[in-house]
Amino acid sequence: MTSRAVRLTIGAVVVVAGLLLIGGVAWASQAGDGPEQPIAFMHTVHAEQNDIDCVFCHRTVETGAEASVPAVEQCMFCHNVINDENPKVTDPFYRAEIAKLEAYAENNEPIDWVRVHVMPDHVRFVHAAHIKAGFECATCHGDVGSMERVKQVRSLNMGDCVACHRENDAPTDCTICHR
């Protein structure tokens, strides 16, 4: 082989390896955990171990279109007491994460959570209507209580929505979601 061919081969191998790496990372983040959040908020601790109802934090889910992510103040209702100096919080990892929350509260800064369930701009989803129809949060969001990092479990593409609407005799007119 000429030196040019060798260089080309090495280049091709590097490119392929790079693509595999990127693809692998993307696949792992799809299959494994959801995106990394500014604070390692554990639904396992809140929803599962301490059995806090979804609506306690996601307050507007029964009344509005959005499920609403709580404001920092709302976190601090509890974490004023369950702070990083609380003797019952023994795990240094949790202490560190709670300290991050307290820093946000002290600086009057909102937490820039990474959105997990992203809908296209031409889709309007109304949480309240679906809760009213008797669906559990888990129907679409899966068992969030068992997720250390929240991830999307259903495709939530149009076929997914329409199939469920048909099964449940819900309207399938375009304007129900697209307006």
């Binding site: 296209p120 701009d121 031409h122 309007r124 009213k132 375009c174 304007t175 697209h178």
Partner: protein
Amino acid sequence: MRQAQEEHPQDTDKPVASIGRRWGMVVDLDRCTGCQACVVACHAENNIALNLEDVVLQQRAINWIRIERYWEGEYPNVKARFLPMFCQHCNNAPCEPVCPVYATYHNQEGLNVQVYNRCIGTRYCANNCPYHARFFNFWERDLDDTHREYLNPNVTVRTKGIMEKCTFCVQRIRKSEWERRQADEELQDGDVNPACVQACPTDTLVFGNLEDEESRVAKLAQNKRHYRVLEELGTDTNVVYLKKVDPHASETAPAHA
């Protein structure tokens, strides 16, 4: 919806089997002062792009509702006539059969629906609309963070290359629907008001269900002054106009053929 696809709209008397609801509007021209409050309200509600001077000069301005102005008579005996014009939500809509991708269709509530994510921008519908109620997005919206703050979150921001038009504020219809459903109630007459109707200071515009005989809009539509714009085209619109009352009309108006 499935039924509508199996049966071609042109084969039947009414395009889609009704579900006891046919949204419509009555425009009482005797009340209209041409103040344009409806135009402003519509722009704010529906995230309509700003029509800057160059856009207007290119005749590419987007106005889901506009006030058409007609002059009558010779100076000094001149009269201005106003006619609010918007999508007439025709039951036999010329725009619907020409769309190659079903981006515009008639739904079971009598609405002529434009589905933005289906539209591929052939503009056939706009060419076929006798009311000039459809508008094409020639440009992408240039929205910075400040602009995004004053968008209505319930309405899609249309991208470049698709058609748009009056929706009878379908987002408000849906909102009223689920608000009533939350309370286990039926939708009442007067629950739903598009932005133009809400803004109208003289009560020119009345919106409601034309199939409910008790509704305000259905009663007004029976008024003896009623007519439909370009009725002779057979578009069977869901918008009914009430003629202006003018005792001196015969003095200034040109004689009808």
